[in-house]
């Protein structure tokens, strides 16, 4: 299940629950899988200095980001016994309550998926050049920063 070169991880707009459900469905033919672990990042209505976030506008240095996603994917397959792995990240506007990141790992056994998923999500947060403009309800904005 390894890809030979970076594929495009980005999707325009939010990632729908239907897309996620369908992705789970497609794995039901893979009968060596015993455990799936899924991480979803959802946009929070954070209150900052009295103003409430209403959406995040995502941009990315796309070529480098896809290259980094690819390296993270390769490193995860190297470190963990995974059957498959999928990563999707939004670009453009994602409103509060909507999903902007979907990471899906599957393995014969459960211990592996817990470790692998956390490794992948932390690497995405740290290494991938994606930028988030937090839009407030009054249309002012600030730039999001991963911690």
């Amino acid at each position: 299940m390894k890809d030979k070169k970076p594929k495009n991880v980005f999707r325009e707009g939010p990632i729908s629950s239907d897309f996620i459900g369908n992705s789970i469905y497609k794995h039901q033919t893979k009968t060596s899988i015993g455990a799936h672990n899924i991480f979803l990042g959802q946009v929070r209505a954070d209150e900052i200095d009295g103003k409430v976030v209403s959406a995040i506008e995502y941009t990315a240095y796309e070529d480098m980001a896809n290259q980094k996603f690819y390296e993270i994917r390769e490193a995860a397959f190297e470190k963990f016994e995974l059957t498959c792995m999928h990563i999707y990240h939004s670009l453009g506007t994602v409103k509060i309550g909507e999903i902007c990141l979907f990471v899906f790992v599957s393995s014969p056994r459960r211990k592996v998926v817990f470790e692998a998923l956390e490794f992948i999500v932390e690497a995405i947060k740290a290494d991938v050049p994606v930028f988030g403009k937090e839009i407030f309800e009054d249309n002012s904005h600030q730039w999001k920063k991963n911690t």
Binding site: Y61, Q67, K125, P129, V130, K133, W143
Partner: protein
């Protein structure tokens, strides 16, 4: 040599553009940065990393003529 420079997020807000080409003599990343700091005085208040050919580099790295990008803090996920 002619270098393409890309700006992202709050850095693009400072430069007021997403991309430009700059003619610069061979040298280090630090020399390119000096040129940019002169051109965009607000840049020095901003937090960013520099990528050359899609890899993060530091100030002592030699300019190769590949694409340069100024990357503000990452916010994926």
């Amino acid at each position: 040599m002619l270098i393409t420079i890309k700006y992202f997020g709050q850095i693009a807000e400072v430069t007021q553009k997403d991309e430009e080409q700059i003619e610069i003599s061979e040298g280090l990343i630090s020399e390119l940065l000096s040129t940019l700091n002169t051109k965009y005085s607000d840049l020095k208040h901003k937090d960013f990393q520099i990528a050359q050919n899609q890899e993060l580099v530091n100030l002592e790295t030699e300019l190769t003529g590949d694409e340069i990008a100024l990357l503000p803090p990452f916010a994926g996920g």
